[in-house]
């Protein structure tokens, strides 16, 4: 079993390096490659399985494979006591495979292979544990993602107007055409479900019911970025109105999740919410018009978020599945290495210079400042950056320093070498990948010209965020709790603006109620009445005709008269 695991680790690592070098080569030569396999041709429109290899897909694949190789290595210890380890590993492998298929398909139909595959495999991974929480979370995840699948199916149906599903050839045509714009609307809908943008946000924190390696791989760096990646591919087809809508939704998502993370107590959910906020950031920069920056942030974020989850997993593993940050504290002394990694990732997430997150995030906000849109976007962007720092520092404050709050009988220590090795494989890239990727991806620097204050705005917000994060987490004797005082506000924001309620209880009542109505009134009601149950009408008819053949003189004469009447009528 472990052998299988390690062989997959080696395989993935090999392919990751291989694809990375290929990606650099392709980028350098500005080269791309398409491989087509024809599945079906109907009336000259052919459904094809297409593989597109260009620098973007190769680089993304290499990153995904690298992270997954590390995660697989990591889960050798994390999941060591698991009875169903083979199932787990194979699901993770299948997941990576679907992600690959998603990345390399520039065809609406063959992308379904990856897209649906991601949804289904992530469903299996979320319900990997057998408790009710993961059951509900899995259903929520799968059905939210299914909305996106349906949107893609509809986009396929609508793309038949072009007669082909190789969307990359038609992107500009979609933009110009008011009817074909529908495709890009549907694609944005699909991407919003996969990347958990606002109406569909609730599944991402819920999906934290999965085992932590899964969260690390699936719900931070790969699955949720699938939507962003799709939009990166589609970005030439998005019209201005659509981009405004996307920008609004994405910025709200970013703000909402940053706020919610400040009120959350579940370690994994905080990180999930921070993923959500970063996804909002990616989406908004995409909507502002720079798909390359989106891709840059996507890659960098994938690295540090995966490592962040792995650190969290190590902590959770050592704390006997306890995820509540109120039970943590003073982990700095107990598990120094993990906490170091944790801190580096957190600071990178905050965008502290010169960690990897800084390069992408700072560039994004400066890009946003450069093409001034309106004050709302400006403010919400900076506030969200501040909130990111705030919840990161709150998290550090709660878990890393202070008193040790866990139960008395514990073995919180850093004995898990395999896990640490898996994490250590990522840490260098968390630190360096930002600058590395920036030098590789942006041949000419992006022109940024800002006044001093605006240039420093990001740093100012970071420092303010640090301060606020420290303040909100601080406790003093006799300190009256603000979140208790403003109960409605804190409830509202901690429940992610009530979205989990709306997307579970809010939508499942009517379908179930209607199902009941249709069963009772149609299937067991009128359909039976006018169908099967009134078959006895036939019996009644035969009763009547039976009476004709009784040997009764009156009937005999009556029939005779009738016969004569018919005879006469026919003449």
């Amino acid at each position: 079993m472990m052998k299988l695991l390690y062989s997959y680790f080696k395989l993935f690592l090999f392919f990751s390096i291989f694809l990375f070098i290929m990606g650099l080569k392709f980028m350098n030569k500005n080269y791309s490659m398409m491989i087509e396999y024809e599945v079906l041709t109907l009336n000259s429109s052919s459904m094809m399985m297409v593989i597109l290899l260009d620098w973007m897909s190769l680089l993304f694949m290499s990153f995904v494979l690298f992270i997954s190789s590390m995660v697989i290595y990591y889960s050798a210890e994390y999941m060591a006591e698991e009875k169903n380890l083979i199932r787990f590993i194979l699901l993770v492998i299948l997941f990576v495979l679907s992600m690959m298929l998603l990345i390399i398909s520039p065809n609406m139909i063959s992308i379904l292979l990856g897209w649906d595959g991601l949804g289904l495999v992530s469903y299996c991974l979320v319900i990997y544990y057998q408790n009710m929480k993961s059951y509900n979370a899995g259903m929520l995840t799968a059905l939210s993602n299914r909305i996106g699948d349906v949107a893609i199916l509809m986009a396929i149906a609508w793309m038949m107007n072009f007669g082909s599903w190789n969307y990359i050839y038609y992107l500009e045509m979609m933009k110009g055409d008011s009817i074909m714009e529908m495709i890009s609307y549907l694609i944005v809908l699909a991407a919003m479900t996969k990347s958990a943008q606002i109406p569909f946000s609730s599944w991402l924190p819920a999906a934290m019911a999965a085992p932590t390696p899964v969260s690390s791989l699936v719900h931070s760096s790969t699955l949720v970025t699938a939507g962003v990646y799709l939009l990166i591919r589609f970005n030439f087809s998005l019209t201005d109105n659509l981009l405004y809508l996307l920008l609004f939704v994405a910025s709200m998502t970013m703000f909402m999740s940053g706020l919610a993370a400040n009120f959350e107590y579940d370690l994994k959910k905080i990180i999930a919410l921070s993923t959500l906020s970063q996804l909002g950031l990616m989406m908004s920069i995409l909507a502002l018009g720079s798909y390359k920056l989106t891709f840059f942030h996507l890659l960098v974020h994938a690295l540090f978020k995966a490592l962040l989850f792995m650190c969290a997993g190590n902590i959770i593993h050592n704390m006997m599945n306890c995820q509540d940050i109120r039970y943590m504290g003073n982990l700095m002394e107990k598990m120094p290495m993990t906490c170091t990694f944790f801190n580096i990732c957190n600071l990178s997430l905050c965008g502290l210079p010169f960690l990897s997150g800084f390069f992408s995030k700072d560039l994004i906000v400066e890009f946003m400042s450069m093409n001034y849109l309106n004050i709302y976007i400006y403010i919400i962007m900076y506030i969200s950056i501040g909130l990111t720092v705030s919840y990161s520092f709150r998290l550090s404050y709660y878990s890393l320093i202070g008193d040790f709050n866990f139960l008395s009988l514990n073995v919180v220590s850093e004995l898990s070498m395999i896990m640490l090795k898996g994490m250590g494989g990522l840490i260098l890239f968390v630190i360096f990948s930002g600058s590395l990727l920036e030098w590789v991806m942006f041949f000419e620097p992006i022109f940024i010209c800002l006044p001093m204050v605006m240039k420093l705005m990001a740093l100012i917000m970071i420092i303010m965020g640090m301060f606020i994060g420290y303040e909100v987490a601080k406790f003093k004797l006799g300190y009256s709790l603000k979140s208790l005082k403003f109960m409605t506000f804190s409830l509202f924001s901690s429940l992610m603006w009530n979205m989990p309620l709306i997307s579970t209880l809010g939508v499942n009542y009517y379908p179930l109620f209607l199902g009941k109505v249709y069963t009772k009134i149609f299937d067991q009601g009128w359909h039976e009445y006018y169908g099967g149950k009134n078959l006895k009408l036939l019996a009644k008819f035969s009763q009547v005709s039976q009476s004709f053949s009784r040997s009764h003189l009156k009937i005999y004469f009556l029939l005779l008269i009738l016969w004569v009447v018919f005879l006469l009528l026919n003449i």
Binding site: Y129, Q130, D324
Partner: protein, 142 residues
């Protein structure tokens, strides 16, 4: 089932429950030990203030008010031990019953000959011990 009212709850029990829940709720809110202790003492004081009220109407009213306050001030993410009901890891593992192994296919069983040989032995021992304790089982024909 726990929420179904089964039997009468005396006033004392009700107050005790309320107190316990209130303190637990404080534990959710004030997550530093010393701060929690401080607020727990304050909470105790609030209960102690009204402990001598003999008028049942007033007392009942107070308890109801307290329950309402507790409801309004419940935490959105109460502290739970991971393996206790409501916790994150509650019911994660479902242990399949032991008899599942008995229903393995013979070919599968043949892959672990030693284990199954010993298992059969243990079964016999168990049956012997059971019969020794309870006597032979009566075979009922109905």
């Amino acid at each position: 089932m726990a929420n179904l009212p089964v039997g009468l709850v005396s006033h004392t029990r009700r107050v005790q429950t309320l107190y316990k829940k209130a303190v637990r709720s404080l534990e959710d809110w004030y997550d530093r030990r010393e701060v929690f202790r401080y607020h727990a003492v304050l909470m105790r004081q609030r209960f102690d203030q009204n402990k001598d009220i003999c008028d049942m109407r007033v007392a009942k009213d107070l308890v109801e008010k307290g329950e309402k306050e507790l409801f309004e001030k419940q935490h959105w993410h109460p502290r739970k031990f991971p393996e206790s009901p409501g916790g994150v890891a509650y019911g994660r593992e479902v242990v399949p019953p032991d008899w599942v192994v008995d229903y393995w296919h013979p070919l599968e069983k043949a892959q672990y000959p030693e284990y199954f040989a010993r298992r059969e032995e243990r079964k016999k021992e168990f049956m012997k011990a059971w019969e020794k304790k309870y006597g032979k089982p009566q075979i009922s024909t109905h």
